[in-house]
Every structure is written in structure tokens, then in C-alpha cells.
């Protein structure tokens, strides 16, 4: 024990706990390989791991994770689990897509869940991609912001410019414009480099700038970088009254307490639920290869519930529903 992790005890501790023999049919073993980063990253690695842990008891699973430090180790880290005969291996992040498919071909008896990994044809039989529509989550968040903004200026601070951030940004902008054609959206991507998703100070600086230029909604969509933007907004005078911020990926009310003063909602991919659902399907042998689309929307308003006017709530709920059933398109083209 004693290592870090949200899962603190369970993370490190889970790894050290005496393990049963995964090769036996009775023991259901789930392994997780992070994208470069940690299981407590307040982002998708954490969401994935929490998804695993959430259904651990229900499924009677034995779980363990490996934190990747070098992207060139994806295949080797997956192999640690296949060598130990794990039943399910969750790999996190689009960067691991190739390595996961490769491993799927080599170990046909192991199930793989590729988090954020779109499975193009031909699909590998034992690999399921868990996919979310970031643009839908962004759209819902933008719609809310568009309805509520007083200054008609809103901003989004993003990590590196890659498809998921592009999707969030496009959804956000289109949603806001749909709600309020007069709104102006300023968006900024982090300069390239390996710190693009882990530069909260830069994110805070960009938020500061946007706020000074009159924005009253800040959407932080870029891991630690976006979190910096949220924290900055939370500290600015008027936070929670005139200024609001929107989290990303998972309900950041739970992961980023520092943003509470302004965190009206989060553009959420229901990652934990998706993972849990897929693990249950595997246990129940109903999993299908190809892509599984998890749901995306916005989180509950928590303390801000009273501050969101009722008509806004209904309009946003309506939009979320239409997005889910496909009757409303976000206008984002990958």
C-alpha cells in the first residue's frame, strides 16, 4: 500500500495483493494500461480506472494497472497482462489503438477494451472500442453557455489540437451559436509539445486573458491545462455569480474541488459507465467487437442547480435528448 492513486489503497495495493491465478476460469482478471500518465490524472486514465473499480465488486474481478511512462512501451505493458493470462485488458487512449489491435490478434482468447479507440473495418473479434462523441458533450455545454451568457462572450481553453479537443471545441461553438447567434466564442489551443495537457499555469493565464476580455463562461477542455483555466475562473471575482466554468471528460465536481466556485457543469463523457457496461457484457459473454458508443452530455449542476433557470434546464435537457437519439447533429465533421 502507500502508493498514490485515487484508488490509493486499491491502486498500488491492488497490485501487491496476493493474486489468484488468472488463467483459471473462475478468476476474472481485469488489467488496465494507462496512456502516458497516471491513474489519478483527473482525466481519462482516472475515469477508466474508476470505471473498472466501480464494477469490481459486482463482477468479483481482480484488478491491476500499469502506468505507462514511455509510449513505446504500450505493447510490452499489454504483454505483462497477457503473459499473466488476464481475461480482460483495458487500454486507455487513441494512441494505443494499434498496439491493442495487434495484441488482440495475437491473443484471441483475451478480451480487449480500447478506450477512445475507434475500430475501423475490419474489426478484430476480441477488441471493442469504447467511443464517445465529444462534440455532443461540447455542444450541450455550449448550448448551456449560450443561453446563460450575459456578455455574449464565452471561451474555451484546450490542450493540444487533436481530434477529441477539436470535437469538443467545435461542439461547444456550434452549440453556443445555436442557442444564441450573437455569442462570440474565443478558443485557444496549447502550443504543441509534450506538456500540452499538463500545463495548468498556461491554462490559467489564457483564462485570465479571456475573462479580462469579457468572457463569462470558460470551458476548460485539455486535461491539466484545462483544469488551470477552471481554477483561474473559480478565483476571479464574480465566480459563481457572473462567471462560470465548465469541466470536461468526467464530472469534475468530483475531481477538481478547486473549481467548485464556478463549476456549473462538465461536458461529460460517461466513461465510467461505458467501461462498467462493457465489462459486464464481457462477463455475460454478450460483448460485440467493433465500436461501442458510450453516452455523452453534461453533468448535473450540483450546487448551481438553483442558479440555472428552469427554462434553460428544459431547453438543455431537450437538446441532450435530441443529440442522444441522433435527431440533432452537432455540425462537427471529424
Amino acid at each position: 500500500g502507500g502508493t498514490s492513486g485515487p484508488a490509493a489503497g486499491s491502486g498500488g495495493g491492488g497490485n501487491t495483493a496476493a493474486s489468484g491465478d488468472c488463467s483459471s476460469a473462475e478468476v476474472f482478471c481485469v488489467g488496465l494500461v494507462t496512456d502516458v500518465g497516471k491513474v489519478d490524472d483527473k482525466g481519462f486514465n482516472q475515469a477508466a480506472w474508476e470505471g473498472v473499480e466501480q464494477v469490481k465488486g459486482e463482477l468479483g474481478a481482480q484488478t491491476k494497472y500499469i502506468e505507462t511512462t514511455d509510449p513505446k512501451d504500450y505493447a510490452k505493458n499489454i504483454k505483462q497482462f497477457t503473459d499473466a493470462k488476464y481475461d480482460v485488458i483495458v487500454t486507455v487512449g487513441f494512441l494505443m489503438a494499434d498496439a491493442t489491435r495487434e495484441a488482440g490478434k495475437n491473443y484471441p482468447n483475451t478480451k480487449f477494451i480500447g478506450f477512445d479507440q475507434f475500430q475501423a473495418d475490419p474489426v478484430v473479434n476480441n477488441v471493442t472500442g469504447l467511443i464517445f462523441h465529444e462534440d455532443q458533450a461540447g455542444y450541450a455545454a455550449g448550448y448551456l453557455a449560450g443561453l446563460m451568457t450575459k456578455s455574449n462572450k464565452i471561451g474555451v481553453v484546450l490542450g493540444q489540437e487533436i481530434p477529441p479537443t477539436q470535437a469538443y471545441a467545435a461542439g461547444y461553438e456550434n452549440g453556443a451559436k445555436a442557442a444564441n447567434p450573437a455569442v462570440a466564442v474565443s478558443k485557444v489551443y496549447h502550443p504543441a509539445g509534450n506538456t500540452a495537457f499538463n500545463d495548468p499555469v498556461w491554462g490559467a493565464g489564457e483564462a485570465k486573458k479571456m475573462l479580462a476580455q469579457g468572457a463569462d463562461f470558460i470551458f476548460g477542455a485539455g486535461g491539466g491545462t484545462g483544469n488551470g483555466a477552471l481554477q483561474e475562473t473559480a478565483k476571479t471575482a464574480g465566480a459563481g455569480d457572473k462567471l462560470f466554468c465548465i469541466g470536461v471528460d468526467l464530472d469534475q465536481w468530483d475531481t477538481l474541488p478547486a473549481a467548485h466556485p464556478c463549476l456549473i457543469t462538465s461536458a461529460e463523457k460517461h466513461e465510467k459507465d461505458g467501461i462498467g457496461e462493457l465489462l459486464k457484457q464481457i462477463k455475460g459473454n454478450s460483448i460485440k467487437p467493433g465500436n461501442f458508443f458510450g453516452t455523452a452530455g453534461i453533468s448535473s449542476f450540483h450546487d448551481f442547480d438553483s442558479k440555472v433557470p428552469a427554462d434553460v434546464k428544459t431547453k438543455v435537457a431537450d437538446v441532450v435528448k435530441k443529440l442522444e437519439d441522433g435527431s440533432l447533429a452537432t455540425g462537427y465533421k471529424p
Binding site: A204, G205, Q213, G224, N227, K235
Partner: protein
């Protein structure tokens, strides 16, 4: 004035920049203010980090461990503030952590005669390892760092908004620059510090204890990197993240050299860099060239400025070299 005559180029540059800034301000006060605010915000940790470099390198000790110093300080500041519930404790512990890392550099290089570059690299690696290893999620600050409005000064158009509506650490940086500059060039401590960094045996034969002075300077100089760290995790944001310095220590090193090891020029260089950065993000999505080209603007501009104008800066003469008593005299 004698002083004006000697410094007419920098003074002229400052005047030009100020005028241009106010013209910009007159055209669009909102954007101008926000961009300058952004620039200073970006510059604060660079200035502080570079000041640690100034004090250390002026004393003859290279410091490429500023990044690690800042990271450890950010870590210590945030977690002690979260644990104690006191912001003051956090800032003080952050500064103390910077000083402790400075002491490590001082002891290994000045006493232990270890190569200074290696010592800096060790600091960087240890800092990454330690702060990552002992990181705990889920801690929060009990309150936010205060925002101060300095009476009178904060009412100055533009400058007041940018510099004097401020958090305590940014204000500390603002004050530290002229103070260190003055100390370095106008006081006994400064004269001796420059002497031990420039030509230690001359200082030695003049009765100055080079070793003791280097130990003290390099150690105490860590206070600025410590403050920079506290700024990152407590004032700029309100949380510590692994690797959150994100290369700012190295940028500070570049700023230190860019600024010719002089606090006022370091300040100007950092602001320049910060402004280029603010400009880059302001232009994103506005001008129609790929975002990546815009974002590398600050780096490119720095290189161009150095190549065209101020390329040949001169490091303190003895920087990097260990001093052993009785040798070299």
C-alpha cells in the same frame, strides 16, 4: 545625466515600448490590458526563476536545476498549505523548499566540488521523481490567494491594471527585480558577489571568503525559485500537478542569459517573451495561418532578437568553475 547617457539605448527602448503600449491601450483598452496582464502572468515565474539564476551565476555557480527547484517548491508549497490550512505557511514552505534545493546545489558544488551542470541535472531528476512519487490527489487549498489592489498605483491606467492589481507573489516578483538589481550593483554585497563570480581569486586576496559567500548566495538565491514554485501551485492555479513547471525552469534559464545576467534586463526579456506568448494565443483563430506557426512565435522571436541585436551577452567570468583556495592566484 551621466547615467542616462550610458543607458540611452535601454532607456530609449523602454520609452518606445511604453508609448507603443499606451497607443495600443488607447485603441483597444480591453484587449491591451488583457494581453499585458497575460504577459506579466506568464513572466512572473520566469522572472523569479531567472533571479535565482542571477544570484547564483553572479556568484559563479551555474544553475540548470531551476526547473527542479521550482517543481519541488510548488509541491512543498501546495501540500503544506493544504495540510496546514494556511496560505502563509504554504508560501513560506515553498520558499524554504527553494532555499533547501539551493543549499543542495551549493553544498555539492561549492563544498563538494561537484560539476555544477551535473548537480543541476541531478536536481531536476530528483525533483521529478520525488514530487511524482509522493504526490497525493484530492487536496485543496482552504482559500484562494488574495488579490491586492495597491493604493494609488493600481489606479494608473494600464500599468496599474497589469502590475498593481495583483497577488502577493507576483507583487513579490515585481519588487524583487529592482531590489536585486540595486543590491547587485549598488551595495557591498553586490560588489563582492560580482567579484566572486567574476574573478574569485581577486576577491579571495582582498580578504573575502569566497566559499562562504558562494554557499550563502546560492542557498538564499533559491528563495526566488521557491517563490516561483509557490506562484505556480498556489497563485497561478490552486493545485499541484506532476510536472506542472512544464519547462518554465529552462525558459527561465534562457531568459537569464537573454537578460545578460542583469535583473532589469531579465525582467524586460521575460515580459517580451510573455507578450509574444500572449500575442500568439490572441492571434489563434484570428489570422488565417496554421495555429502551430503562431504558437511558436515567442521562441522564434527570441531567437531572431538575439541573432539580430543582443547576441553577445557575457557570462560572469568564473561561472561554472569550482573555487579552490590557494589555487589560481
Amino acid at each position: 545625466m551621466e547615467w542616462l547617457k550610458r543607458n540611452r539605448i535601454p532607456v530609449g527602448a523602454v520609452v518606445v515600448v511604453l508609448v507603443a503600449s499606451y497607443v495600443f491601450y488607447a485603441v483597444n483598452d480591453n484587449v491591451a490590458t488583457s494581453m499585458f496582464k497575460g504577459a506579466w502572468f506568464f513572466a512572473v515565474p520566469l522572472v523569479l526563476g531567472a533571479l535565482t539564476g542571477v544570484v547564483g551565476e553572479r556568484s559563479g555557480v551555474v544553475n540548470i536545476g531551476i526547473e527542479g527547484q521550482m517543481l519541488v517548491a510548488a509541491f512543498a508549497a501546495f501540500f503544506s498549505a493544504a495540510a496546514s490550512g494556511s496560505l502563509v505557511v504554504g508560501v513560506l514552505v515553498g520558499m524554504a523548499a527553494g532555499i533547501a534545493m539551493g543549499a543542495f546545489l551549493a553544498l555539492t558544488t561549492v563544498k563538494g566540488l561537484m560539476d555544477q551542470i551535473i548537480a543541476g541535472v541531478v536536481i531536476n531528476i530528483v525533483a521529478t521523481g520525488l514530487t511524482s512519487f509522493f504526490y497525493r490527489p484530492g487536496r485543496v487549498l482552504s482559500s484562494n490567494m488574495p488579490q491586492w489592489e495597491i493604493p494609488v498605483l493600481s489606479k494608473i491606467p494600464l500599468l496599474g491594471d497589469v502590475f498593481f492589481q495583483t497577488g502577493p507573489i507576483a507583487l513579490f516578483a515585481l519588487v524583487a527585480v529592482p531590489v536585486v538589481h540595486f543590491a547587485l550593483f549598488r551595495t557591498r554585497w553586490g560588489l563582492r558577489t560580482r567579484a566572486i563570480g567574476e574573478y574569485p581569486s581577486a576577491a579571495d586576496t582582498a580578504g573575502i571568503d569566497v566559499i562562504a559567500m558562494r554557499l550563502v548566495n546560492v542557498t538564499i538565491g533559491g528563495i526566488f525559485a521557491g517563490a516561483a514554485g509557490a506562484f505556480l501551485s498556489m497563485e497561478a492555479t490552486s493545485g499541484f500537478e506532476r510536472g506542472m513547471t512544464a519547462g518554465r525552469g529552462f525558459l527561465a534559464l534562457a531568459i537569464l542569459i537573454f537578460g545578460g545576467w542583469r535583473p532589469l534586463r531579465v525582467f524586460a526579456a521575460a515580459l517580451f517573451f510573455g507578450f509574444a506568448n500572449a500575442l500568439a494565443s490572441q492571434l489563434q483563430g484570428v489570422v488565417n495561418i496554421p495555429q502551430q506557426f503562431i504558437t511558436l512565435l515567442p521562441y522564434l522571436l527570441t531567437l531572431v532578437v538575439l541573432a539580430v541585436a543582443a547576441g553577445r551577452v557575457r557570462a560572469p567570468g568564473a561561472v561554472g568553475q569550482p573555487f579552490v583556495k590557494g589555487e589560481g592566484s
